[in-house]
């Protein structure tokens, strides 16, 4: 049995919608409850279509992918367990991945790769992604010159981010970005929209603020956790956090997943504010990690 609930979050999510549904995975022989987020555009498309899965979501079940398709009425119309592709010996198969939540559009190039899963996300990569994946194969943090341009490969475990260096960034930004990638505790950087949003915001702000990557490590380290927010103090605190951020924090219902906070920030500017103040908010005990 499946069901679906469409909730337009008031305030915090702004133009974003949350879908909650339960599905039965034929491969695992188990039921799962999922929550996903879609943006307004996707929601509109979903509403316009009548039947036939118009929106598909993929969930990693280790030995296979679960593909869930929803129609315009919000019904789950198809559930498929898709086995992992087994690459023939000596042949590398890479699969392009799109996170379940729209990532920010950035003027900087970043390619998010997971080596073990052979997946990559090139939403913010303007070159041919497959040509650059070999830089990540070794799983080492390094700098490369390709056609006279500097590329930074930031690796930790199976996760690798390739960045085209901007001339506006100082050299130390490299180390700080490497630390940022190391701080990511999730399993797959190419499918993680919260991390990608943070990383891209950091790239955007690094020219003006070379410490932004360092500040962002605190937020990245808390991805996957839940925080409580002292709303009284958020409301009463005047200037330091800025109006937009106060609005963002005060629209949270006391407790929130850190990922949810990140995905709720409406754009680069708000993201950067969140990254810059997150440590302070924690150190003032206005935000507390509860789990």
């Amino acid at each position: 049995m499946t069901f679906i609930m469409l909730i337009k979050s008031v305030g915090l999510m702004g133009e974003t919608f949350q879908l909650s549904f339960a599905v039965f995975c034929p491969a695992c022989n188990e039921s799962y409850n999922y929550k996903v987020f879609i943006d307004k555009e996707k929601y509109r498309l979903l509403q316009e279509k009548e039947v036939g899965g118009v929106v598909s979501f993929f969930f990693d079940h280790r030995s296979h992918l679960l593909e869930v398709s929803l129609n315009g009425k919000g019904d789950v119309v198809e559930v498929k367990a898709v086995p992992w592709m087994q690459a023939p010996e000596g042949v590398t198969v890479w699969r392009r991945e799109t996170p379940y939540f729209p990532v920010l559009s950035s003027s900087f190039d970043a390619l998010f790769i997971n080596r073990r899963r052979r997946v990559y996300c090139d939403v913010n990569w303007r070159d041919d992604a497959l040509s650059f994946i070999p830089l990540a194969e070794g799983g080492r943090t390094a700098k490369y010159i390709v056609d006279g341009r500097e590329y930074w490969v930031l690796a930790h475990g199976d996760n690798v981010v390739v960045v085209k260096r901007s001339e506006l960034w100082r050299d130390e930004v490299f180390n700080r970005l490497a630390v940022l990638v190391r701080e990511f505790r999730g399993s797959n950087v190419s499918a993680d929209p919260a991390f990608q949003r943070i990383f891209l915001s950091v790239l955007e702000a690094s020219a003006d603020d070379p410490y932004i990557a360092l500040d962002a490590t605190r937020l990245v380290g808390d991805l996957g956790k839940t925080v409580s927010i002292n709303l009284d103090l958020v409301m009463l605190s005047p200037v330091p956090f800025g109006g937009e951020l106060v609005e963002l924090l005060s629209s949270v219902d006391y407790e929130a997943a850190v990922d949810f906070l990140v995905l709720s920030a409406s754009g680069i500017r708000e993201m950067v504010k969140l990254l810059k103040t997150y440590r302070l908010l924690k150190n003032l005990n206005i935000i507390k990690v509860v789990e």
């Binding site: 002292n230 103090l233 009463l236 440590r279 302070l280 924690k282 150190n283 003032l284 005990n285 206005i286």
Partner: protein, 349 residues
Amino acid sequence: MCHLLVPFLMLRLYYKTRERLGRFWSAEELAQITYTSYLTLIMEKIGLLSFLEDPRSFEEVKEFVGGVRREDVLRKLLEVAVKGGVLQADEDGFKVDRSGVARVKALKGQIDYFEDEDVVYRAAETYLPKTAVEVLKGAEKDRSSPEVALTYYWHDKSSIFKLGREMLLVMGGKGRLRGKTVLDVGCRFGTEPALILEFLDYDCRLIAADFYPQVVDECMQKEVNVNGEVRRLFELENVSFVTLDPYVKEKFPLEDASVDVVYTFQVLQWYSSVQRIIEEFSRVLKRGGILLVGIPLKKTDEVTAQDVFYALAGGYRGFTVEEFKKMLKRAGFTKIQIFRSSFVVARKK
């Protein structure tokens, strides 16, 4: 250069108070009005002033606040409010004096420091009333409590605190402090270490210390401008950080006779363990080392609005000049000088 401005800034303060209040006001008088106004605001925000439109007994006030476990603090609050002219007391009980309230508010408006926002007043206007009620109900508050931490954050940005910090450094003597090891106890969110470093042209070894790890963490990230380049404090080779136990159940993690100067500004009055903290200062200071303390001391032992405010905001109390001198002597300090009941310089024997 900024330390050269201090005498001028002090003169400006004097001039301002004379201009606005008709004569020079002592630090104690200014403190009395300021802290009475904070308490008045707190009483107003928790509805106590409205409740006292009719005379009420202490028991009725207690019942109004509800669940009071710190009767002593509530009693003192009412006492200092009577003393400050905000309440009247007679055999019928306590009653608000509306003209007194108006007078306190008007005076406060006239002395708002340096025409800056008074951050503590803002705190008293906003979240401290809730804190005060919690304290009256028995809650323990310290700098690890969010609202107290936020007040400290604001303190970090206060211009009157900046002036006070500079004054204390001037009293320590610039030449004497250069090249020395300075322990800054109560580094807060980094403004104070940054000021000390700048004052000494970065020519010192600075140990930034605070009683809570999250405060030290924030301090480490404070940005300073070194030779035109923005750096964070943790990156500077001559700066290190320690977290201290405010109750001194454990010694400070510093060697005996390892520092030349201990600097602490507006910190000690928040802790009940002051004597033990001062003894630790003495232990870590070298022979002849300098202790520089910024602390609001009182001339007499009577309970002041300042004491009650500290208690309600989660702190401890103010000390008298004599009490504080005795504590210093007991810990082995000599050549004790106290200026304006606020700035203390002493030497380790």
